[in-house]
């Protein structure tokens, strides 16, 4: 189904704003002590998850990173189920077992939420292999940061995917810093598309601050993967506006650099473009802001009202409940 320009613009702006406001609220609730553990915010990178997800179909599976609130929201998880998860409530999308870094929703084929850098790539390859062996439609979208490229699992996975010709879309979110280590301080070769090509995986670099560029590049990549049943690699050049986590004094980058990237804010940029092109009116943008504000407010209420899983349930789901004669320790 073809969307009109204004419908598409509305979807993209709504998607990005929903992530931005959710993350801002999360930071606030972290400071208030409602959310604990590690919290990695996606502010600045919204165009990537938003553009990519709108190019995918329900039968596609997603494997994401620990900075994945944006991916989960863009895939259609409710802000309420994610917020409840971060509050540690039983109504959370992982029943309070995962927290910010481990959001799961099998119904929408959202397979987490992985906090071992690079650890999700082999899973994506195996999942795609099973798609191929069972002749099922649907590709696998696998997100990771540029930091993962230093991990052995990146290289093992690209090789396996190309060797076995399985439908994986490798989506590298290059925000230039692996925590505090700049790309050129950790990689002798910083041409990431070239690295993928070394495994005979085709790919390209995309401006990750431009949601239309992300959407179009992903649509083409998706078509390529579906047509040829082989992997493809996209590098999105993006930037995180906030600290790595809530424990980061940001000693490794200059304020000027951050400010420079903020000038390229994907939301401000796209809003201006949509107004200029006549896709959206100022009133339409207000309506989107209001809708998003309502969803986030409801999410916080839902999380507040959520319940704590009784500690008697602590050991549930270590194993699948089964009829066995064994004695579980």
């Amino acid at each position: 189904m073809m969307l009109s320009h204004s419908e598409r613009a509305r979807n993209l702006l709504h998607g990005m704003l929903r992530i931005r406001r959710f993350e801002e609220k999360s930071a606030e609730l972290y400071s208030a002590g409602k959310i604990r553990g590690f919290l990695h915010l996606y502010v600045g990178e919204e165009a990537v998850a938003t553009g990519v997800m709108q190019a995918l179909r329900p039968e596609d599976a997603i494997f994401a990173t620990y900075r994945e609130h944006g991916h989960a929201l863009a895939r259609g998880l409710t802000a309420a189920s994610i917020m409840a998860e971060m509050f540690g409530k039983a109504e959370g999308c992982s029943r309070g077992r995962g927290g910010s870094m481990h959001l799961f929703d099998v119904a929408s084929k959202f397979y987490g939420g992985s906090a071992i850098v690079g650890g999700g790539l082999p899973l994506a390859v195996g999942y795609a292999l099973a798609q191929k062996m069972q002749q099922r439609p649907g590709l696998v979208a696998c997100f990771f940061g540029e930091g993962a490229i230093a991990e052995g699992e990146f290289h093992e996975s690209l090789n396996l995917a190309a060797l076995w010709k399985v439908p994986v879309l490798f989506l590298c979110e290059n925000n230039y810093y692996a925590m505090g280590t700049a790309l050129e301080r950790s990689e002798a070769e910083v041409d990431l598309v070239g690295k993928a090509a070394g495994y005979r995986v085709q790919g390209e670099s995309v401006d990750g601050m431009d949601v239309l560029a992300v959407l179009e590049a992903t649509q083409q990549a998706v078509q390529f993967v579906r047509e040829h049943n082989v992997p493809y690699f996209l590098e999105f050049r993006t930037y995180r506006f906030r600290a790595h986590s809530m424990f980061d004094p940001e000693l490794y980058r200059s304020k000027a650099e951050v400010e420079q990237w903020k000038q390229r804010c994907p939301i401000a940029g796209f809003s201006a473009c949509a107004l200029r092109e006549g896709w959206l009116t100022p009133e339409a943008i207000h309506v989107i802001e209001d809708e998003v504000a309502q969803e986030i407010a409801h999410a916080v209420e839902f999380a507040e009202a959520g319940t704590w899983e009784p500690t008697e349930m602590l050991s549930r789901d270590v194993y699948t409940e089964r009829k066995g004669t064994g004695t579980v320790p």
Partner: protein, 331 residues
């Protein structure tokens, strides 16, 4: 009427189990290093490539973390993968996937995910394969919540544990003992799946319980025979499954014998033997008529020279000596 029995080996019994599983269920496939054209580094998968083809008997590059993770991903998506890791030492390259993903995904997702994966790996010393091919990490893996660890030591278990493991909705690690691959014996012609929940009494006795698993089972049975010659009646329990541990079978034996020796090829400190002893202390201290002893591997990387390797692992003499000390002690 005598039931039909066939003469076979531990290796062939494992091969039969793989063949049966692949015949029975299209979701089952095997992958690992040299499982296909080479026929398996220990020839366990010999002949399967010809029968089932390259899709289902899949040779992998030397990427333990990659292909174990791929097995997990395939298990998440409707398949029943069997992943072979050549030796348990190599499995350490995939420990991240085994612990952080296979064992954890179900819990971390609030029960949404299930990983019906079977990993087979070879362990055990005795073939002079030295310090990077011969260890026994069964006890380490048994420390991990979320996985099941089984240790076939007989032809019946080599033949029967795989199918039951595949039907388990959670990840199962099967430790095949390298020196047992050539073990010969008889097996019922219609042998099939066995349970992977319970420990089994392999030899009945009255005066002392010897608890063991895997490659040490046969040495422990030999020790029990010798003890019998010396007038000591020993019961031998094969744990079979190390996680979850079937302590009921151990405790019920102790109620009869009141004396215990644990035999475990793992390194002594923090070993599975230590766990069994601790649980007996917690659950049956007053049943004991003597302190518990254990016979484990000496805490060295496995040496190459045969006499040193044999000195490093549990042997019949040491098991007998420990049992005799235990029997002669009085509280």
């Amino acid at each position: 009427m005598m039931e039909d029995r066939i003469r076979t080996t531990y290796r062939k019994a494992l091969n039969m189990a793989l063949r049966e599983a692949m015949q029975r269920d299209q979701r089952v496939f095997l992958m690992g290093e040299d499982v296909g054209r080479y026929g398996g580094s220990f020839a366990v998968s010999k002949g399967l490539l010809d029968e089932f083809g390259e899709e289902r008997v899949r040779d992998t590059p030397l990427s333990e973390s990659g292909f174990v993770g791929a097995g997990i991903g395939a298990a998440l998506n409707g398949m029943l993968p069997i992943v072979e890791i050549m030796t348990c030492n190599f499995s350490l390259l995939a420990l991240d996937q085994i612990l952080n993903n296979a064992a954890t995904l179900r819990y971390m997702s609030g029960g949404q995910l299930s990983v019906p994966l079977v990993i087979r790996m070879a362990s055990g010393a005795g073939l002079q394969l030295a310090g990077q091919h011969s260890h026994s990490f069964e006890g380490w893996y048994a420390n991990i919540p979320g996985i099941r660890v089984v240790t076939p030591a007989t032809l019946e278990d080599a033949r029967g544990m795989l199918w039951t493991a595949l039907m388990d909705p959670d990840p199962v690690i099967i430790f095949e003992n390298m020196p047992l691959y050539n073990l010969e014996g008889e097996l019922a012609a219609d042998a099939g799946p066995v349970d992977i929940d319970r420990a089994l009494v392999r030899r009945s006795g009255e005066e002392i319980t010897l608890v063991t698993y895997g490659g040490s089972l046969h040495k422990t049975l030999q020790a029990a025979e010798r003890l019998g010659d010396e007038g000591v009646s020993a019961e031998v329990i094969d744990l079979r499954t190390l996680r979850p541990l079937d302590m009921a079978t151990v405790l019920s034996s102790l109620e009869k014998t009141h004396r215990l020796v644990v035999v475990d090829e793992g390194w002594k400190s923090g070993s599975l033997a230590a766990e069994v002893m601790a649980r007996v202390m917690e659950q049956a201290f007053y049943e004991l008529d003597a302190p518990i002893e254990r016979v484990c591997s000496v805490e060295v990387p496995m040496p190459y020279a045969r006499h040193l390797e044999q000195a490093a692992i549990p042997q019949v003499d040491a098991i007998c000596a420990a049992a005799l000390r235990t029997v002669k002690r009085h509280v």
